[in-house]
Amino acid sequence: MSHPSAVRIFLKTIVARAFPRFVGSYRNRTWIVTETLLPLIGTIAMIYVYRALHAPARYLGFVVLGGVLLAFWQNVIWAMATQFFWDRGQGNLELFAMAPTSLAAILLGMALGGAYLSLTRAVTVLIVVSVLFGVAYSTSGILPALGVFILTICALYCLGMLLASVFLFYHREAWHLADALQEPIYFLSGFYFPIRSLGAFVGGVGSLIPLTLGLDAIRQLILPGTPQFIPLHWEIVAVVGQIVLYAVLSQVSLRYLERLARQDARLILRST
C-alpha cells in the first residue's frame, strides 16, 4: 500500500495543528488584553524598580529584551509543554496518537499556531517600552541579533517538545515542578539583568535553559556595554548545540514515553 511520505505528513500536521490555535485567537480576542496589556504592565513595573534603584540606563534595555523573550518562554511552558495533558482530557490525544503522524509535528504545529501571539506580545513590549523610556539600541547589531533570536527560539521549542513528552507521562509531578521552577527560572535565565551578575557557576547552570545564552548574546549585540558572560561566538555555538541536543533528546523521549504510555494506558481516557 502506498501512503503519503512521512515528511509530507509531518508538514501537513504542523499546518493543520497550528490552524485551530490560529483561528481560535482570531475568533476569541480576549488575548489582546492578556498578551499585550498585562505583560506591558509587568515590564514597565520592572523598569520603575530599576529607576528607583538608580540602575544605569542600559538596564532598561535588559528589561525590554527580557520581556520580549519571556513571551516565548511562557508560550513554550504553559502552552506547549502542558499540551498533551489537556489533549488527553479532551480525548484528542488518542486521535493524534493513532494517526500515522508524529507527536512532534503536533507539538510544533501547536506552538507555531501560538507563536504569533507571542510575537505580537514581544513586539508590543519592545516598541512601546523602548519609545516610552527612550531605550537606544546599536543599529549595526540588529540583524545579527535577529539571527540569534531565531536560533534561540528554535532551541526553546525543541526544549518544549522534550518537556511535553515528560509531562505526558509524569503530568502531575511535572505540573508542580514547572510551577515551582517558574520563579527560579526567571531568575537564572536573567530575564531582567545580565547573566554575568549571577557569577560563573549559577550562570552556567542557568545556561541550560536555551534562553539564557541567547538573551545574553542579543544584549551583547544591541546593547553595547553589556557585561560579557562568555564570548559572543561561544554563546552562539552553545545555542546551536542546544538545538541539536534538545531536538535529539525530545525525539528519543517522545518515542520512549509513547511506548510507556501505551503500556500504562496513559494515552487513553478511562471510560468506565
Binding site: 501537513k12 493513532m98 494517526a99
Partner: protein, 325 residues
C-alpha cells in the same frame, strides 16, 4: 477466509495503585475481511480495552493481535495508515472550529491532499444530511450531529478497517438509525472493508452485524451469526413478566428448577422480568415465587427468542443494570 483481525490468547491487565484488573483474559478472535463484526457485552466486559489494543493505543499484557496482517505491537506505524476509530459520546477536537474545518484538520494528520480531502468531506456531510452544518461551530452541535461528524472523521481517510466503540450510545432513534445506515452504505461500497463495533444494544447487533461475539469478564463466551446465537435458546420458552415494585426476586427466580436464565429491567415503575425456561413446566415454580412475594402481576407473555435472550442465557444476566432492592 481472508483475515482482517486476529487475536491469540489476548490478555490485558490494568495495574492501579490499589489493585489489578484483568480486562481481557485470553481472547481468541478471527474476523474475516468484509465482515461487520459486533462485540457485545455488559459494562466492564472489556470491549473498549479490546478496541484500544487493536487500534494501537494500548499494549496487550500478553498474547498477540494482528490487524490487516500487521502486529499491533511492532508494526503499529504502518497499521495506523489503515485504520480509524470512532467512539460514542466523544467530544474531541476544538469547539471553536467549524465542522468542515475540524474534519479537514484530522484528515491532514493522515497526509491527505487538501482539496480531495475537502471534496470528500463535503460528500460525506451531504450523505449524512449535515451539509447545512458544515459552517457551524463544533461546540454548537447537538449530540446526534456531533456523532455523525465523528463518524465522518473516521470515514474520510478510507480506512481498511473501521473500529466503532458504541457508536450510537445516547443518540435518539433517528440519529442512531442514520449512523447505522451510513455504516451499512459504507460497507456496501467496497466488499473488502471491515467494521468492528461494540454495542450495548442487542437490536443494533442483530440488525447490523454479520457475526457477533459475546464478551463477559474479559472472555468470549460465544460467537456466531445473530441467528446462530438465537438458536442456542430455541429450545427454551421465553416468558416476559411485568411486576409491580417490591422486594428483590431475581436470585430466587434463578434458583427455580427449569429456569435457565433471568434478567430484569425497570421501566416506568414496573419491573420487567425476562425468563428463559428449559420447559414450560418451570412456569409453575416461577408463579409460586411471584405469588409468595406479594408483588402484583401486571402482564405475562410468551414469545420468540431474541439475541437478548441468548445473551441472558450465556452471561446469566441481562445487559441492563441489575435489579434494585
Amino acid at each position: 477466509m481472508d483475515i482482517a483481525v486476529e487475536t491469540r490468547a489476548l490478555r490485558r491487565v490494568y495495574k492501579t495503585r490499589s489493585q489489578e484488573v484483568v480486562a481481557l483474559d485470553g481472547v481468541d478472535l478471527r474476523i474475516g475481511r468484509g465482515e461487520r463484526f459486533g462485540v457485545l457485552g455488559p459494562n466492564g466486559a472489556g470491549k473498549t480495552t479490546l478496541i484500544k489494543i487493536l487500534v494501537t493505543l494500548l499494549l496487550p499484557s500478553s498474547g498477540a493481535a494482528f490487524v490487516d496482517g500487521l502486529d499491533v505491537v511492532t508494526q503499529f506505524r504502518e497499521l495506523r495508515h489503515r485504520i480509524a476509530m470512532v467512539s460514542g459520546g466523544e467530544n474531541v477536537g476544538f469547539g471553536m472550529l467549524k465542522v468542515k474545518e475540524q474534519l479537514w484538520m484530522f484528515s491532514q494528520f493522515y497526509g491527505m491532499p487538501s482539496n480531495p480531502a475537502k471534496r470528500r468531506i463535503a460528500e460525506l456531510l451531504e450523505r449524512l444530511g449535515l451539509s447545512d452544518a458544515a459552517d457551524r461551530r463544533v461546540s454548537g452541535l447537538s449530540s446526534g450531529m456531533r456523532q455523525k461528524m465523528n463518524l465522518i472523521r473516521g470515514l474520510i481517510t478510507n480506512p481498511r478497517i473501521l473500529f466503532l466503540d458504541e457508536p450510537t450510545v445516547a443518540l435518539d432513534v433517528g440519529a442512531a438509525r442514520d449512523v447505522r445506515d451510513e455504516v451499512r452504505r459504507w460497507m456496501a461500497e467496497d466488499p473488502t472493508r471491515t467494521v468492528i463495533l461494540t454495542t450495548h444494544y442487542m437490536m443494533e447487533a442483530d440488525e447490523l452485524c454479520d457475526r457477533v461475539a459475546i464478551v463477559n469478564r474479559g472472555r468470549i463466551v460465544a460467537q456466531g451469526t445473530p441467528s446462530e446465537l438465537k438458536q442456542q435458546v430455541q429450545q427454551n420458552a421465553i416468558v416476559d413478566i411485568q411486576l409491580s415494585p417490591g422486594r428483590r426476586l431475581l436470585d430466587a427466580l434463578r434458583e427455580v428448577d427449569g429456569v435457565a436464565g433471568a434478567s430484569v429491567a425497570e421501566q416506568d415503575g414496573i419491573d420487567r422480568f425476562t425468563l428463559l425456561l428449559s420447559s414450560d413446566a418451570a412456569l409453575g415454580g416461577v408463579m409460586r415465587i411471584v405469588e409468595g412475594s406479594g408483588r402484583e402481576i401486571r402482564g405475562l407473555q410468551k414469545r420468540e427468542p431474541t439475541l437478548e435472550d441468548a445473551f441472558v442465557k450465556l452471561v446469566g444476566r441481562g445487559m441492563a443494570e441489575e435489579e434494585q432492592g
